[in-house]
């Protein structure tokens, strides 16, 4: 079972909105209180990474 980690909603991030996902212990799932996004921990982190990669696809991270 996943711990209650800090993960922001990837869908809201696409609209420049900071919305931390809430954790549903019963369903072992993270969900957003603003939009309809919900996912398990691995998917949520993966979606966040995907958002970041897409948004800054023309920019290189490392120095």
């Amino acid at each position: 079972m996943a711990e209650n980690k800090v993960i922001r909603c990837p869908e809201c991030m696409r609209r420049d909105i900071d919305s931390e996902l809430f954790y549903d212990k019963k369903d072992d799932e993270y969900y957003c209180r603003l939009c309809c996004y919900s996912a398990d921990e691995e998917t949520a982190f993966g979606d966040l990474k995907k958002f970041k990669t897409e948004k800054y696809k023309s920019y290189k991270y490392s120095k």
């Binding site: 980690k5 800090v6 993960i7 922001r8 991030m13 420049d16 909105i17 900071d18 919305s19 931390e20 603003l34 982190f45 966040l48 958002f51 970041k52 948004k55 800054y56 696809k57 023309s58 920019y59 290189k60 991270y61 490392s62 120095k63």
Partner: protein, 572 residues
């Protein structure tokens, strides 16, 4: 030259799980590099003997400046004294502000033996600053606004962060007694302090998105997810882009102010504390490296105030030409701030004027519960393309330059004029191909000459219409605001034509004039388009409810290839 402040805050808030360790980490890392800091002390700290001793020791040993933090009034002692949870000084009534400031200043003096020279707010209006300067002449510099913190940030923070201070200058300036967001005309108009921003911002992203994700604050950048762990090229590119502004300005101010909380375990979204601290250290190293190679100078806030007083006059325009860093585009944005206005020109939109704040109106804006503006400290715009789809653009035979992106460069003339030179664009108009170049010449006296030249045409004898269109409105946000009573006029040679805007879709027009203008009473501002072109046609339209804009048009009707037309934009 880029003048940099490293600013830290020391707090003691028992309502959060606060420890001084992250602050000590920040101080130690700065001192390892030989950097002086400005240490802003919060109210509750002044009651803790060990913290006061720590501050004094830092100041004596490293030359750090001790200043006063009034950005967010919080803490057990503060609550006991104030009897309120209101933490934003600028939202309190004036008399209450005076009580709070006096209490803070006197406690500071009791702890350290002197009044602070430097004070930090998120935003502060003029009346209390005037009072502070009179009562405490030593007070010389204040962090006074968060650049373009308003609509985008409000949306991004789920409408819970009620700080509105859009429309200000982005750098250091002398604030006016009439409105702290306006650069002073002269000494008589000035409060007598130097205003600096809370952080430097990405001058593109602050306009098109959130100012609080893309700034000189390493944790903000993590919030924007621009980093990959402890790797973040953006921190370096950002600093370099600010350095470039030294080409246009005598002194460029830069600060970083990262609250120690961001560098504590579990306090920075998905980020680890190790990465957060590493990135912060990299920020300090950027300062050090640039100072070592002579491209930046690190100083305290009070020291910067002295530098600014020495180098910067009241009538100096502040210029910024910013290149997109993050999105891999060619997009640029040009900003100019002076006593009369702040203007933003977007080469991506063919050189359209996309944001115009008429400081000349010198509106008295003082937020608070007894104020008509309530929360909004923002200086209103007279046009804003992002918020309200209102801008100034140019049509050539009906073809809108707005739809043709270009790039720009800045040239400063010997006489103090500033030229924004746009690369020519190619247009297909009426079966001909033409090249058009636009230049905005900002004169030392504040008038703006909008110069359009048809460089070449595939039909050399053809005459073209060059139409300047100013679509204006007024507001601070994204909803329409009433501009009823705005007086539109044209100085027709046979007698002035005018109408008072009332959303009835009326217009006035003349082929026999030299100026079309509007006076917006809600902004106490007049905007005019003026030309010496005898063949020019003028139109003014009041707009209607579903399209609540007033429009001023100056149309040059007989322009051939090789000819340039000039339309003056005057804001008073």
């Amino acid at each position: 030259m880029l003048y940099c402040n490293v600013i830290h805050k020391i707090s003691n808030d028992s309502s959060v799980d606060y420890t001084i360790e992250p602050l000590k980490f920040q101080q130690d890392e700065a001192h390892k590099l030989g950097l002086k800091t400005t240490l802003l002390v919060s109210y509750d700290v002044l009651f803790v003997e060990d913290y006061v001793k720590y501050c004094i020791e830092q100041s004596e040993k490293y030359g750090d400046e001790l200043g006063l933090n009034m950005q967010f009034l919080i803490g057990e002692k503060y609550s006991e004294f104030s009897k309120t949870r209101e933490g934003q000084l600028h939202l309190m009534p004036f008399e209450q502000q005076k009580i709070m400031v006096e209490e803070h200043f006197e406690r500071f003096k009791a702890a350290f033996g002197y009044y602070p020279k430097s004070v930090a707010f998120y935003y502060m209006s003029a009346p209390i600053l005037i009072w502070m300067k009179e009562k405490y002449p030593e007070f010389k510099i204040a962090i006074m606004n968060c650049f373009e913190e308003g609509i985008h940030m409000y949306d991004g923070n789920r409408h819970g962060w009620n700080l509105f201070c859009e429309g200000s200058p982005w750098g250091a300036y002398y604030p006016s007694k009439k409105n702290s967001m306006c650069p002073a005309y002269d000494e008589a108009d000035a409060i007598g302090i130097v205003a600096v921003p809370h952080l430097n911002r990405d001058m593109m992203m602050a306009h098109i998105g959130r100012d609080d994700c893309f700034s000189s604050h390493s944790a903000n950048v993590q919030r924007g997810m621009v980093n990959e762990g402890n790797k973040c090229k953006y921190l370096y590119d950002f600093f370099d882009e600010w350095k470039k502004q030294s080409s246009y300005n005598k002194a460029v101010y830069y600060n970083t102010l990262v609250n120690a909380l961001w560098l504590d375990e579990g306090k920075n979204f998905e980020e680890t504390v190790e990465d957060s601290r590493d990135l912060y250290c990299q920020t300090l190293r950027i300062y050090k490296d640039n100072e070592d190679n002579g491209e930046a100078k690190v100083c305290t806030m009070a020291e910067y105030a002295d530098i600014h007083n020495k180098l910067c006059n009241y009538d100096t325009a502040d210029i910024n030409l910013w290149n997109d860093l993050l999105m891999g585009s060619k997009r640029q944005l040009f900003w100019c701030s002076r006593s009369e206005y702040r203007i933003t020109i977007d080469p991506n939109l063919g050189g359209a004027i996309v944001d115009l704040r008429p400081y000349a109106g010198r509106l008295s804006i003082v937020p608070g519960p007894d104020s008509d503006v309530m929360w909004t400290g923002s200086y209103p715009y007279v046009l804003h393309n992002w918020h309200r789809e209102s801008c100034h653009t140019c049509f050539i035979n009906g073809e809108n330059l707005f739809e043709h992106r270009t790039t720009a460069s800045v040239k400063k003339e010997e006489n103090g004029d500033i030229a924004l030179i746009l690369e020519p664009v190619e247009l297909d108009v009426d079966n001909a191909t033409i090249d058009v170049q636009s230049i905005f010449l900002i004169k030392k006296d504040g008038r703006i000459a909008i110069r359009r030249k048809i460089l070449s045409s595939s039909e050399p004898q053809k005459e073209y219409s060059v139409k300047e269109q100013f679509r204006g409105t007024k507001g601070t946000g994204v909803l329409p605001e009433d501009y009823k009573g705005t007086r539109l006029y044209i100085d027709d040679k046979n007698g002035e034509l005018s109408l008072s805007a009332n959303y009835e879709d009326r217009k006035i027009a003349s082929n026999n004039a030299s100026c079309v203008g509007c006076y917006v009473p809600q902004l106490n501002t007049t905007v005019e388009l003026i030309t010496e072109d005898k063949n020019a046609r003028f139109t003014a339209e009041e707009g209607y409810m579903f399209r609540p804009y007033y429009t001023m048009i100056c149309e040059h009707t007989t322009v051939k290839a090789g000819e340039e037309v000039v339309t003056w934009l005057k804001i008073r």
